[in-house]
């Protein structure tokens, strides 16, 4: 498909237009991090102007840079979701407009791929996730920089989206190269054709330079951390199942579950029932496999009574279960868990140790 070009001013107009149909979420800079906020809120604060992306300012929304701090699952598989009320056979509806996520990065899109497999890709479907996903619009974006913890290339992902988006934006300074990745995205290019121009050779060249620059940064990261590529991960967790490395790595784990909640692919949840004014209300809450009682049964048996077994389980799920059952590793290389862990347990190092052990 041909590449288009959109100016910054036109992009803002486009996003504003899309607000008619979608609830538009954009990444907003807060200090060193980015968080998603509704576009409307930013507008009312008079902060919709996108300034020079090279000089980041707080509260300005950013298309490029790197992934947001929060995983995008938070908007589709919410941390706390009311999933049933009394005995009514209805799906509690979201009255809100479908979501338009702007500036999702390649690692975020891999997160969707994993969660899609879990929630809608198998024999049973989760009606809440399905509903949130089927009408959404994903306007992804190339990374224009990398964090030290970024290691997407190790998971065979490039820091610019390849698939699973509707439109993709490549920040080339003040303006953007645009690519459609789906019929829906192509429809938007058509519907709002006046905002777009054909992308010129120079613009594409700028984009490609930007892309290879970021790839280089991630490659350097990988070299520094020594994280192995996914082609070396097959079977390593099983080979190291009884290895002391799990006990050693778990020494600083405080069982907080931050790695689970921050992970774009972690999908485990628990069901919590409450009586709300005598009505039965059921919530679905994010759960964490690091927590002691995660797999415990009422009779008292616990398949993973030790913390190190639960840490191992996290790796087993992502790097053994998922590739065997769904043919993909449930890791995006986003590095969120590295930054979130108060015990400084580093997934890159754990994988490295696993691979090195096998080679010994």
């Amino acid at each position: 498909m041909d590449s288009k070009f959109i100016s910054q001013a036109n992009l803002l107009d486009l996003l504003n237009d899309l607000r008619g149909e979608y609830s538009v979420l954009v990444p907003v800079r807060k200090g060193e991090s980015r968080f998603y906020e509704p576009l409307a809120a930013i507008q009312t604060q008079g902060e919709m102007e996108v300034e020079d992306p090279q000089t980041p300012v707080d509260n300005r929304f950013v298309i490029g840079e790197v992934r947001a701090s929060e995983p995008l699952k938070a908007f589709f598989f919410q941390a706390k979701q009311r999933v049933a009320e009394n005995y009514q056979d209805t799906t509690p509806t979201r009255d809100a407009k479908p979501l338009c996520i702007v500036g999702a990065k390649a690692c975020d899109l891999k997160g969707f791929k994993v969660l899609d497999t879990v929630f809608v890709g198998t024999d049973y479907q989760d009606p809440f996730y399905k509903k949130a996903r089927e009408k959404n619009l994903i306007i992804s974006a190339d990374c224009t920089s990398a964090l030290d913890v970024c290691f997407c290339l190790a998971l065979d992902l490039l820091p610019h989206p390849q698939d699973n988006f509707d439109l993709n934006l490549s920040d080339i300074g003040k303006d953007y190269v645009v690519q459609a990745g789906s019929d829906k995205g192509a429809g938007i290019l058509e519907k709002y054709a006046s905002y777009f121009q054909e992308a010129g050779k120079d613009q594409l060249k700028k984009r490609d330079q930007m892309r290879s620059g970021v790839e280089e940064q991630v490659r350097n990261n990988i070299q520094t951390s020594g994280v192995p590529g996914q082609d070396r991960l097959a079977g390593v967790v099983q080979s190291n199942y009884e290895d002391p490395l799990w006990k050693e790595e778990a020494e600083t784990c405080v069982e907080c579950g931050a790695c689970n909640t921050i992970c774009p692919t972690c999908h485990c949840f628990l069901l919590l029932d409450q009586l709300d004014n005598r009505d039965l209300v059921r919530y679905r809450l994010w759960d964490s496999c690091l927590i002691k009682d995660f797999a415990k049964v009422a009779g008292g048996a616990n398949p993973r009574p030790q913390l190190w077994m639960r840490l191992r389980n996290r790796f087993e799920k992502k790097f053994d279960y998922f590739p065997k059952v769904n043919d993909l590793y449930a890791c995006t290389g986003c590095g969120r868990c590295v930054l979130a862990c108060p015990g400084k347990i580093d997934i890159r190092n754990v994988l490295k140790r696993n691979v090195e052990n096998v080679r010994k």
């Binding site: 056979d89 409450q274 049964v297």
Partner: protein, 274 residues
């Protein structure tokens, strides 16, 4: 799974009656507002409003569609509340979930059913089906054990099976007391001298994890094939359809791919008995 827009929603269910079976186990007779049909060995999630859910395998006849029974041992938060319920109370029910006993695999074969303790609950439902179709099987054997005679779930009924001519049955208790006249010893002590073809015979095992473990080891020692053993695994099944992640065994979710597993499919995974 039942047709529903929302798999998290429980069906309103009336408790028609309760039966105190043993000091720790009681049976609930349940009538859901919507008819559900289950295969023997599948499980349901029972909701105590406000307290939460717990998984149980129905112990009643699958061919009875409007009423089902579950036998519940008092062991945790939800089951404590279940033991306080009475006829007329309302509970919630989801399911059935998972895959049950593969009855068609047993047709034309000799089949041994080994049970222990609260494992008699799912097995009673299985036995109803086996008796209903007993002419389809070459031979039926039942070996069951309990801790003591007073813990013997459905004792009268199961002892009554001794009068059937389509069943070879032996029972045991770990510790005898009261009027017990039968064998004393754990269930593995009544697995010797089985009058069946060990090499082609099929086996179903259901009971507490420790009993399942030792029964399985004994059966393998006797020469049964791993691929002829079917086990009902007990894990922390919550959502019931392979999403919540709590009940994983290796590459399976117990709720979706089990709870009945052919042993050779899970035997290589560590800690399956814990």
């Amino acid at each position: 799974m039942y047709a529903s827009n929302n798999p998290y929603r429980p069906i309103r269910t009336e408790i028609l009656g309760t039966i105190e079976e043993t000091p720790t186990i009681r049976t609930l007779k349940l009538r859901p507002d919507e008819q559900i049909s289950f295969d023997t060995g599948q499980f349901i999630e029972l909701t105590v409003p406000g307290a939460g859910e717990a998984p149980f395998t129905p112990s009643s006849e699958p061919s009875v569609k409007d009423v089902l029974e579950v036998s519940v041992m008092r062991v945790g938060k939800v089951t404590e509340r279940i033991h306080a319920l009475k006829a007329g109370d309302t509970v919630g029910l989801r399911g059935p979930f998972g895959s049950g006993y593969p009855l068609d695999e047993f047709v034309g074969k000799e089949l041994l059913v080994v049970g222990g303790g609260c494992g008699f609950a799912p097995l009673r439902s299985l036995m109803y089906e086996l008796f209903r179709r007993s002419r389809e099987f070459k031979k039926l054997l039942f070996r069951g054990g309990c801790r003591t005679p007073k813990d013997f779930l459905y004792r009268k009924q199961i002892e009554g099976w001794g009068k059937r001519d389509d069943l070879d049955i032996q029972l045991t208790v770990d510790e005898a007391n009261g009027d017990w006249q039968g064998n004393v010893g754990v269930v593995t002590t009544i697995l010797d001298g089985l009058k069946m073809d060990i090499h082609t015979g099929m086996v179903v095992v259901c009971g507490p994890p420790i009993m399942m473990k030792f029964a399985t080891m004994k059966l393998l020692d006797l020469g049964f094939k791993k691929s002829n053993l079917y086990l009902s695994m007990e894990k922390n099944m919550s959502c019931g359809f392979g999403k919540c992640g709590h009940c994983r065994i290796g590459t399976y979710y117990t709720c979706k791919d089990g709870p009945v597993f052919r042993y050779d499919k899970i035997s290589d995974y560590p800690n399956i008995w814990d």
